[in-house]
Chain length 455, copies 2
Amino acid sequence: MPSILIVGGSDAGVSAALRARELAPEAQVRLLLADRYPSFSICGIPFLLSGEVDGPSHLAHHSARDIEAAGIDLLPGHRARSLDPETRVVQALTPGGDTRDLRYDRLLIATGATSVRPPIAGMDLPGVFTLRWMDEALAVRRWLERQRPERAVIVGGGYIGMEMADALTRRGMAVTLVEALPQILATLDPDLAVEIAVTLRNEGVEVVTGVRTERIRETSEGLRVETGAGSWDCGLVLVATGARPETTIAAAAGLETGHHGALRVDRHMRTRFPSVYAAGDCVETWHRLLEDWTYMPLGSTAHKQGRIAGENLVGGAREFAGTLGTQVVKVFDRIAARTGLHDRDARAAGFDPLSVDLETWDRNAYYPGAQKLIIRVTGERRDGRLLGAQILGHQGSEVAKRLDVFATALFHGMKVVELEDLDLSYTPPLSSPWDPVQMATRHWTWTLTHAGGSR
Amino acid sequence: MPSILIVGGSDAGVSAALRARELAPEAQVRLLLADRYPSFSICGIPFLLSGEVDGPSHLAHHSARDIEAAGIDLLPGHRARSLDPETRVVQALTPGGDTRDLRYDRLLIATGATSVRPPIAGMDLPGVFTLRWMDEALAVRRWLERQRPERAVIVGGGYIGMEMADALTRRGMAVTLVEALPQILATLDPDLAVEIAVTLRNEGVEVVTGVRTERIRETSEGLRVETGAGSWDCGLVLVATGARPETTIAAAAGLETGHHGALRVDRHMRTRFPSVYAAGDCVETWHRLLEDWTYMPLGSTAHKQGRIAGENLVGGAREFAGTLGTQVVKVFDRIAARTGLHDRDARAAGFDPLSVDLETWDRNAYYPGAQKLIIRVTGERRDGRLLGAQILGHQGSEVAKRLDVFATALFHGMKVVELEDLDLSYTPPLSSPWDPVQMATRHWTWTLTHAGGSR
């Protein structure tokens, strides 16, 4: 059986290792882990820092013991330094500072992503953090515990920014969130993102959009964040402005890169070198609707790609079916979810989209506790095909899994009108005879027909 | 434009009327309503009787005013007595006791269903009720308010039985539920139904299964329900042993009946008579997986069939896509949902099913408030096709809409293994990188492969 080497012990790497061993119990599988936290949930970090989750070990999808029990040779603290695809050797730096040459028959590069470091002066000051790996998370936690800052500035209004605003508010801190773009949550349409900004403000978070952060300074009191629209004093700065693929050794070895500098792979997760696969946040991602490559570093995708790579490393031929960009975030008690393309994306991709909103109840309106949902359906005017959906709602309204009905419909290329045919579950405390998903698609069809769907 | 007559003002009838007028605003649409409660939510009755919902008007999906505002000529208190498909006349009894001949160009029969009246002696005693129409619901409410019974016996452990056990317990009554079959909730597998029985018992409901109710007597104290395994004294008896199609005038006019005596229609909701359509709880229902006709009186289905009939009454050609038997019920804080075929159904239909359970968390296990889900996946051993799913969980675990991911997958005839490819939403407070739905399908595939799926 081939000797398999995996570089990277987060979602994609560990998924691949487990899957390879499951399918080929006699395969030798070695996994290089740069730190000491295999398979930990990057998405869980905000909940560690909010105090909702106890210790880092709780954030692991699989413990080191589980991984080793599956027969995987886990090499913690081993940082890959170079790759030679000709001789099939990865050179790694061991925890002791030695170098070690590791020969492989098949290699998986699962080096993940690192935080974008925007050109802000003062990024290296104590008290300024980016947040992606566990070491960073633990550094933030130490800072919070030792310095007990009362105010924080978060630079960046994406998912991590949202969740950290929630987390730090929960800890009793005053939080200012500064986003350079005109809106937070660029994955949502601007007017829906405004609803989440309102939620943040109602919870006491100061939200500042369209303002570029220029510099962070040390003051006698702590830190000062200077922007084009004023400055904020605080004791902690989190810079959460996105992720970029970690491809250093792969690019140096001659692997091709594409979107956002991510590694090029095919849908079998193969690179252009025989026997070298790549998966997770370091690779380009096939988009099922765009029918093109994109960059979308998401945990759910990394797990899928890792599993597929794991199959193919031991002789499988499974293809990645593609992402739809399905995402959900919880901000205090508000839930925002989206899948597929929104209007702007769709237009950019050459579609002729129509987006229609419906505000309705999450269950029969007469049932106690009914809460409002806003559902936006995006469809193609010419052939009626579903292109995407966005839902805003509250906890308890099954927002995420309602969105998944759209995601499943999108997966199958359904027309908007066809969603009326789905046999979805109904009981008055949880839905209505037409699920809100279907009310929204009916309203889309009605609008296209009656209102002419004018632009 | 044709003159359209609709007999029946519940879900299917009103849906059809509204859809016909929406598509053909000049059509004459008359709707015969036997009582004075158009478009009321049959499924909402238990919540009216629990006191969670105020008055009957809150249970209406559409008010009489809305229906009339849509240009529909609503004839309340008009009971159809006969139909002549040759002369195209329906004779109705007016509220004043006169008869009235109503001519139509196209007719929709949407007479719904009535409660099954099992052969129990004493069914007609005061304090013994069936529960389907609003008059019956209001009669129960009056009885509850005037007699203030402390104990109730519910005969029948289906959805209405469950919800009424919950409702009456909520009112402070002591409830005994007697089911003749060996299990409650026959739409679930027996061992899953037991879990719901445990929930009922934990809430103080006495659950008796496998016991036939023989007789109800009046005593000096109230009522006594006598069964093959003892008798229960109480002040209220609800008999909820299912529904049968109301087809009296249709059958007398020569329309064909099939399963459970329901009217035969095609997938356009047409009967064998030109210009006579039928929809809702009075008709046979096309089952998408069985590819055969069945009887499944559900509100969600009645709304769909009504809408399709409404389109076709004004010249459309839309087909009913079929039911999957998707259903959900809330029993106290427990949710039970099912779609497709369970093992027994599948075997009876000639499939070779394998059913596999997974017990897992509704969100990342580390996130506070995580609750257990039990997911049972049923698939065909020979070709791996998904046949059905059952989920048990709690409120707040998005059980119903997780089930709908299965329902949407079933609609498209997906193989179990293909559900791994779905791009479902993930954030730690609401799910895991592989949604529990996908963990369960993975476990099914693993079981088929590794455990040989032995019977």
